[in-house]
């Protein structure tokens, strides 16, 4: 009670010491953080604008022919982007053909079939693979993967499938197929982890219902889980495609960097990202540089569209961020 009396005597002392709160601080902080958040929108437009600005000459000169012209010759100043569009699409397609079955199967293994004790170690290992920078994988690609491909896998493929147009011709080493394989390695982690999130988000009720009907584990997976998760898995694959389209360093180091359109996968190729990486600093003339800017614009547009599609597909299924999966 004594303490209470003392407290009342000092009543107002605290009030006197405390500064009067201003509402300005609140408003200022809100505006500051809003500005920072809006930056992402600004950035998207900034990229588009800068790329368009930097390629305005080329756009004027070539128009839409840019995308379908197949000759890229800096000497004669003929710039056609078709070889790179072709190269990007083919290498990404090969990458998807290899990576998607493996990734989804792995995701299924990790969420449905694997014993619990093994799951986290495998997940950690996949995260570590995701953390390897592209240039280091490319380094490994040049000195380890390509010699092995050249000496073992490619002759085997040629022997087996040489009658098709895809596996004809001499084997150099760096080629479209090598590019596709290395992009596959790069996108395995992201497709696996996003697929895993998708599969995990399938409500247990679905699985339990199937189990209750006497299904085996695999049947539960096939019937209850995979069909439910179809849309999300498609989103995961699309995300992987978006990543594959933009893959730069590792591809540049193993694909051969020759602007040509050929059926054989043993022939060297060239992608949109690779030509920018290789030739940007060598572009001596304005039109050359602007054409490269335009390639950047094409690449930007394509990846934005693919990523938009991926996000739309994923939005409905996954509630947590797929950003961390992308990292």
């Amino acid at each position: 009670m004594n303490v209470a009396a003392e407290m009342s005597i000092q009543a107002g002392a605290a009030a006197a010491q405390m500064k009067s709160p201003s509402r300005v601080g609140d408003k200022a902080f809100e505006w500051l953080t809003l500005g920072m958040a809006v930056a992402v929108i600004v950035l998207v437009f900034l990229i588009g604008w800068e790329l368009a600005r930097g390629s305005s000459l080329a756009i004027q000169k070539f128009g839409f022919r840019f995308l379908i012209a197949s000759k890229w010759d800096p000497v004669t100043e003929e710039f056609g982007a078709l070889p790179f569009v072709y190269g990007t699409l083919v290498s990404s397609l090969i990458a998807l053909l290899i990576a998607v079955p493996l990734s989804i199967a792995t995701a299924v293994y990790l969420t449905e079939l694997a014993p619990l004790w093994i799951r986290q170690p495998i997940v950690s290992l996949i995260e570590m693979l995701a953390a390897i920078p592209s240039v280091i994988l490319g380094l490994w690609g040049i000195f380890v993967m390509i010699p092995w491909l050249r000496d073992y896998l490619f002759p085997f493929l040629k022997h087996l499938l040489g009658w098709t147009p895809f596996f004809t011709g001499p084997i150099y080493g760096p080629c479209m197929l090598a590019g596709g394989i290395i992009v596959a390695i790069m996108i395995l982690p992201i497709i696996t982890s996003v697929s895993r999130e998708i599969l995990r988000s399938v409500p247990n009720l679905q699985r339990e219902a199937a189990y209750a009907l006497g299904a085996t584990r695999w049947e539960v997976t096939r019937i209850a889980v995979l069909s439910y998760a179809r849309k999300g898995l498609f989103g995961a694959v699309t995300l992987g495609l978006g990543r594959a389209l933009g893959e730069t360093m590792a591809v540049t180091m193993v694909i051969g960097n020759t602007p040509q359109i050929a059926a054989s996968l043993f022939k060297p190729g060239y992608t949109l990202a690779s030509v920018i990486a290789n030739e940007f600093t060598e572009a001596t003339t304005d039109i050359y540089l602007q054409s490269l800017f335009e390639i950047g614009l094409v690449l930007f547009g394509v990846t934005i569209l693919v990523n938009l599609l991926a996000q739309l597909l994923l939005k409905t299924m996954v509630t947590t961020s797929t950003t961390r999966a992308v990292q």
Partner: protein
């Protein structure tokens, strides 16, 4: 035996306006809060309907009623905490010592310094020590004087009956205390900024009986210096600690009076049904 001073007769008005007989023995006691025709909506849904209520100074007023009757909502209207929820709408007046709390130029932060709050789940800040927790309200409001802060630290902890238990452990994290101690720490934290009123929103519902008893004892000690409004779903607790009780049901104030009257001779049948446990 001394008759309890009765509040202003208008206090006994029910929401339909009929006045009850009031005992006129002494002049009306000072009022901390005067709530007039308060109504509140969450989005489209009405949570409180036309409540008028006067809270007597330096006394304990309990608010009881079944779940969802609006008692916590009402409490939060007294320190403008309901504004933290988006899309709320309010009509009516709340006067604190005669001043309208809801005038546009009134800074809610100042209101909240004068009207402190203790929550159902004790929430000492996890990144701070016990000592830091107590004086955080002063520090973040700009008080720098170390001597003053230390004085208030000790005084607040004494008022919360916690000083002797923690005086050697002030540097330890706030979350290292037991549930009951954490709640008393939160009370000390609220006391440190020297409010006039302490609002308590079911402060003991997460505590065991021993800790609850300590808090009730604390309330008993504090009421001579502070106006206390306590929301509780525990009727017996209301009977133990409060001087006045308000019974809410479905957003309306059904009855308000001295605790003795409410619990022994309620006027409304609904009140009587609730008290006797016919519904809850």
């Amino acid at each position: 035996m001394k008759v309890m001073p009765s509040p202003d007769p208008s206090v006994f008005e029910r929401s339909d306006g009929a006045a009850l007989d009031a005992v006129e023995t002494e002049p009306a006691p000072p009022l901390t809060f005067q709530v007039k025709a308060l109504s509140m909506w969450y989005g489209g849904k009405q949570a409180i309907e036309n409540v008028s209520l006067d809270v007597v100074s330096k006394a304990v007023t309990a608010i009881i009623g079944p779940s969802g009757c609006g008692k916590s909502t009402f409490l939060r209207c007294l320190n403008r905490m309901h504004e933290l929820v988006p899309r709320t709408r309010m009509e009516g007046t709340v006067l604190l010592d005669g001043e309208d709390l809801y005038l546009t130029n009134v800074n809610p932060a100042i209101v909240r310094r004068r009207v402190g709050m203790v929550f159902q789940k004790s929430n000492p800040f996890p990144t701070m020590s016990i000592g830091e927790n107590v004086i955080v309200g002063l520090r973040l409001n700009g008080v720098r004087d170390k001597k003053f802060l230390n004085e208030r630290l000790e005084k607040s902890l004494r008022m919360a009956a916690l000083w002797d238990e923690v005086k050697d452990d002030l540097h330890k994290p706030g979350t290292s205390l037991s549930g009951g101690q954490q709640q008393r720490l939160c009370i000390a934290r609220a006391l440190a900024v020297e409010p006039e009123v302490i609002l308590m929103d079911e402060p003991c519902s997460a505590l065991d009986p021993i800790a609850t008893a300590k808090i009730e004892e604390l309330i008993h000690e504090l009421r001579s210096q502070y106006t206390i409004v306590i929301v509780t779903h525990n009727m017996q607790q209301a009977g133990r600690v409060s001087d006045f009780t308000a019974f809410f049901y479905m957003g309306r104030l059904i009855e308000f009076g001295t605790t003795t009257k409410i619990f022994t001779n309620p006027t409304e049948k609904q009140t009587e049904d609730y008290i006797t446990g016919r519904f809850g």
